[in-house]
Amino acid sequence: MPSFTLLAQSVLSGIFIGALYGLLGLGLSLTWGMLRQINLAHFALAFLGAYLTFQLTHGAGWDPLATLLVVVPCFFLLGASMHWLFARFAITPFNSLLVTFGLTVIVESLIQWIWTADQRLMDSAYGAVRFKLGALYVPLPELLTLVLAVALSLAAWAGLRYTDLGRAMRAAAEDAPIAAAFGVNERSLSLLLSGISAAFAGVAGLCIALSFTLAPSQIYAWIGVVFAVVMIGGLGNPIGPLVAGIVIGISESLTMALTSPAWAPLVSFSLLIVVLLARAKKI
């Protein structure tokens, strides 16, 4: 039996990795639930963001957080233009999966072409900073990820709930023609939401760059577990991915501490199946 400290440290690192799952799932869940588009390219965007952060920090010597000033607006525009193209060609939900898979491959090649397939690790001022919390270690990059994930999830929740634009998005997601009859311009709101989602991917990219070694093929490593997080959290629910992400993160890291790392993926998908079955029974 591992020591209490080791278990507590596992729970903590589960929370941190879970926050990143949640942050990656947030934009995916919003566009899937509210625009009926399954954007696989969300992961590629996040890695593009990670490499941009790497470049600006490692190459140009920026502070990692300052890179958001560039990445967020660029990604907003990128996401909005992608959606504009999808709307222009009337892409169906199923086709969106295929098209964004294609985009993912393109972005992967682009990353490989610019930064090669070698592993990259960002040296930043944040990387080495660790706080001590009793017997536990709290690394700054992971803490930053948690703070960003919580802040963005709450901001998305509040925006959808309390602002006119957010309510209009929810109304249009449920019944677009009637929302339009009350003045909701669904098309421009979709552009806005897609832009915001892509910007969230950019922020997730910063977090990936802060804590992980980058390689183009890593894009695919996250898809399975983040999809599970999005499904468990409920499509279109802004808080769901974070909560589900942390639950899965903790379960995974406890499984790793108690058994072996090989069992970790089993945990997330068993959880997914249990949740989906429980939900199916309720209906």
Binding site: R170, E174, I178, V184
Partner: protein
Amino acid sequence: MLELDRIQVSYGAAPALWEVSLAIGAGELVCVVGPNGAGKTTLINAIAGLNRVRNGRITMDGRDLTSLAPHCYCDEGIAIVPESRRLFTGMTVLENLELGSYRLAARPGRAQSVERVLNVFPALRERLHAAAGTLSGGQQQMVAIGRALMAKPRLLLLDEPSLGLAPSIVLEMFEVIRDINAGGVAVLLVEQNVAMALEVATRAYVLEEGRIAGEGAPSALLATPHIRRAYLGER
């Protein structure tokens, strides 16, 4: 105020309205009756911007609306209470009402608008924070009418507001519609409850198989043998 000039609306290749012309003056309460499938919903949805008009023109005070984007129709002061209500069921009653006042011209004085709706439908006051989908049919109809009133319309479109409601609530709905009209809002009412609709209307149209088959004062229509046979169950 509102004028339809020979409008034609189709679903795919199948036309649902053929050259329908109709006019509503400011402050009128106009009613459209007709059998199921006649095109009443198609007509009212076209006026709200929900259906594309293929031929003909819709004008409001002379302004052509036909080529406007759907979300611009409400800026002309048109609000709809759609068939089967179509509330945003996942949102609260208050959120549904406030969405009604989404258009910029309706946003100032939102709190007063909500208060006005609650005075018309006091039953909604204690359900304000309930999800709209959890309300009874009658209360949902109140929310649908309230949502439309929140838009501060000049022209209120009502598509079978009495459908599926208990008779006592139907009476109350007609009272409310009359009051709204008395407050200066023009009303276009589509009803299957022909007797009641013709009682409150100032003028009425008969729509059959996508065409206007009659028009006139309710009393004149009620005197027509065809109307009495087809809609009032007389032999």
